[in-house]
């Protein structure tokens, strides 16, 4: 390299960041541990994940099978702890499968949003110029469009399936993430230590992933966490409308929809998915709040 290396400068910049980062994360975890709501949410979600994993291997009955010799709308009993549904299927098994689907959709969508949003946001925020202009104009135009409308249309075009539902929800959700990352990249790029890294001849890839990304990690994680409940809710609603997970797969949304139809007869059938969805969304939101308070310095007070 032609440039005179300035190891001290880089050392200084890198070292300072590293120290600040370690402190930031340590502080963050300390704050998170003190947040009882977030901890309770975490415990609940752990249990839920376990249930979903168990459901891969075992459910009390086949969730899709209409059981022979079983009554429909059977109230909770020893054989069927949550009762049976309008077709005589075991509700516990269906609820377990529903947990699986909700979590897959939530986490999967969040992963898509994370990948697309971060990459697009970094590109726009780091390279600026025409690339940024194109991306920004696009986002500004479509930013205001309710995601659910887009999801409905896209899902119909793509066809049924878990993967497609995630893509359909991600179609608008990535924009929030991209805006966030772009803003972060903008402000961090201005910072002195980037200049320091640049002066010592660091490549842009290293700057992007070595400096900008780690420094915006807090807000990005928070944002990604909040995508999960939105995705779960959207999936549940689509399934509720009959536009989501195809039958006989059980989604909390479709169980709720069937339960809703049976509401005057058997309120409990609506109860299970209602409670499960509410608790799960609540847990993700509390966790997101906790993470935000702990790791997002912009929001700290």
């Amino acid at each position: 390299m032609a440039t005179v290396t300035t190891p001290i400068l880089e050392e200084y910049a890198g070292g300072t960041i590293a120290r600040a980062q370690v402190g930031l994360w340590r502080d963050g975890f300390r704050r998170l541990r003190r947040n009882r709501l977030a901890l309770a949410a975490l415990i609940y979600l752990t249990v839920l994940v376990l249930v979903a994993i168990i459901a891969i291997f075992w459910t009390p009955y086949n969730p899709a099978t209409i059981l022979p010799n079983t009554l429909t709308f059977l109230g909770p009993s020893a054989g069927h702890p949550l009762g049976t549904d309008d077709l005589g299927r075991d509700l516990l098994s269906r609820m377990m499968q529903g947990a699986q689907i909700s979590l897959i959709v939530g986490v999967g969508t969040s992963a898509i949003v994370l990948t697309v949003g971060v990459v697009v946001g970094l590109i726009a925020g780091y390279f600026r110029g025409w690339i940024d202009n194109v991306i920004s104009v696009f986002i500004n135009i479509f930013y205001g469009i309710p995601g659910i409308l887009v999801a409905i249309i896209l899902y119909l075009i793509l066809g049924h399936g878990l993967g497609n539902i995630m893509i359909a929800i991600s179609a608008t959700a990535w924009m929030d993430m991209a805006r966030l990352v772009r803003g972060q990249a903008f402000s961090i790029r201005e910072r002195e230590y980037i200049e320091a890294a640049r002066a010592s001849g660091a490549r842009s890839g290293k700057i992007l992933f070595g400096h900008i990304l780690p420094n915006s990690l807090g807000p990005i994680i928070v944002q990604a966490t909040f995508v999960i409940p939105i995705a779960i809710l959207t999936e549940a609603f689509l399934s509720y409308l009959g536009l989501g997970i195809p039958s006989p797969l059980a989604s909390w949304g479709s169980i709720a929809s069937e339960g809703y139809a049976a509401l005057p007869l058997e309120p409990y059938m609506m109860l299970w998915p209602a409670v499960a969805l509410s608790l799960t969304l609540l847990a993700f939101n509390f966790l997101g709040d906790g993470l935000r308070d702990a790791f997002d310095p912009r929001q700290r007070r």
Partner: protein, 367 residues
């Protein structure tokens, strides 16, 4: 001498933070006579503002006045109900603040904010309020007052905003005006105008003024008497001549030595002397100035010096005092003012020279 209108006795105000109890003001006592001009000086963070805010009961959580008496016209302000205290604020004791831009509400018109202070109390007849608002603005020499009174704060210049603040403070003809660094945010010429204004007002209305500042030049220009604060305590008190000509506390002495450097810098710089003030959560034993004091003796590390009379009307809290430092330690000729330099006292294991300020740690992402 007449009775003081304000007498603060043994005031202590602490902040109960997550990191510990910040003992921002400890055992402060002073008094203000009617019509008097009193200056309070000291480095940034020494508790000047907190003292002033405590007087008006404006200290907010996590802060709390933990002890003391604040006698105003024979009543202890700390014992008043919220409503009684509210009636004194802005009516009998007014306060103006350092940064006139952030201290004015950006979404309300200047005139409204002045008038509001009068409507809140019954001192000015309500039909006279608007007229008086304009008169006040004229009095503080805002030109075209009739029109400007309808402006919003952002339409005012820095100096005009501070004038508006002063007009607001004077609106109810208070007996005492507490001005917390009224000139710090302004440039030198405007500073001089504001000071002149305060001087005139003091002479015309007879209101007593407490002027808080870290600019000794400002004190010299306006005040008759001066309090010097260090780390939450009053370390010296005297007439302005005494403080400037024969300071007795080593801290005051150090402050005065640092003055020229400050004036060279448009008078804006904070007073600063070598080292840092102590951590108010974990205070040093003995005299709080001992980690920085060139004249410290062994006793300074174990016992806190009481504030005692050193000359008529002059008090200082120091075991040595400058008189002795001049006589015995050659204070008049020393060039090395590092801790313990003049007295040669460097106790092992205690009070290492103050560490250098650590390189600023990069604050992670903020917008």
């Amino acid at each position: 001498m007449t009775d003081p209108i304000l007498e603060v006795r043994n005031l202590s105000t602490h902040f109960f933070t997550d990191d510990g109890e910040v003992k921002a003001v400890r055992g402060v006592s002073f008094s203000v006579a009617p019509g008097e001009t009193l200056g309070i000086v000291g480095e940034s963070g020494c508790g000047k503002s907190v003292t002033a805010m405590s007087v008006l009961g404006l200290v907010q959580r996590p802060g709390k006045v933990v002890s003391g008496e604040i006698m105003f016209r024979g009543h202890d302000l700390l014992k008043l109900t919220r409503e009684e205290l509210r009636n004194i604020r802005g009516r009998d004791i007014a306060m103006i603040f350092q940064d006139p831009l952030s201290s004015l509400n950006p979404v309300l018109r200047v005139g409204y904010q002045i008038d509001e202070a009068m409507y809140a109390h019954d001192k000015i007849a309500s039909n006279a309020v608007e007229r008086r608002g304009i008169d006040l603005l004229k009095q503080v020499r805002v030109s075209d007052a009739e029109r400007r009174i309808k402006d919003f704060p952002h339409q005012f210049s820095g100096g005009m905003r501070q004038r508006a603040m002063i007009a607001m403070g004077l609106s109810n003809k208070p007996d005492l005006l507490i001005a917390d660094e009224p000139t710090t945010a302004l440039d030198v010429t405007v500073q001089a105008q504001i000071l002149e204004l305060l001087r005139d007002l003091n002479e015309q209305t007879g209101a007593a003024i407490i002027l808080i500042t870290h600019n000794l030049g400002v004190v010299a220009g306006l005040c008759k008497r001066v309090l010097v604060m260090y780390a939450g305590e009053i370390v010296e008190e005297g007439t302005v001549e005494q403080i400037f000509e024969s300071p007795q506390h080593p801290y005051t002495w150090s402050l005065l030595r640092s003055v020229p450097r400050i004036d060279a810098n448009r008078g804006h710089r904070l007073l600063s002397i070598e080292g840092l003030p102590p951590d108010l959560i974990d205070l040093p034993q003995g005299c709080k100035f001992n980690p920085r004091c060139p004249f410290r003796v062994e006793r300074c590390f174990t016992e806190s010096p009481p504030i005692e009379q050193v000359a008529p009307a002059q008090h200082a809290a120091c075991w040595v005092t400058m008189e002795r430092a001049y006589a015995e330690m050659g204070a008049g000729t020393i060039t090395d003012t590092s801790p313990g330099a003049a007295s040669g006292v460097h106790p092992a294991g205690r009070s290492l020279p103050p560490a250098e300020v650590p390189a600023a740690i990069a604050e992670p992402v903020s917008d």
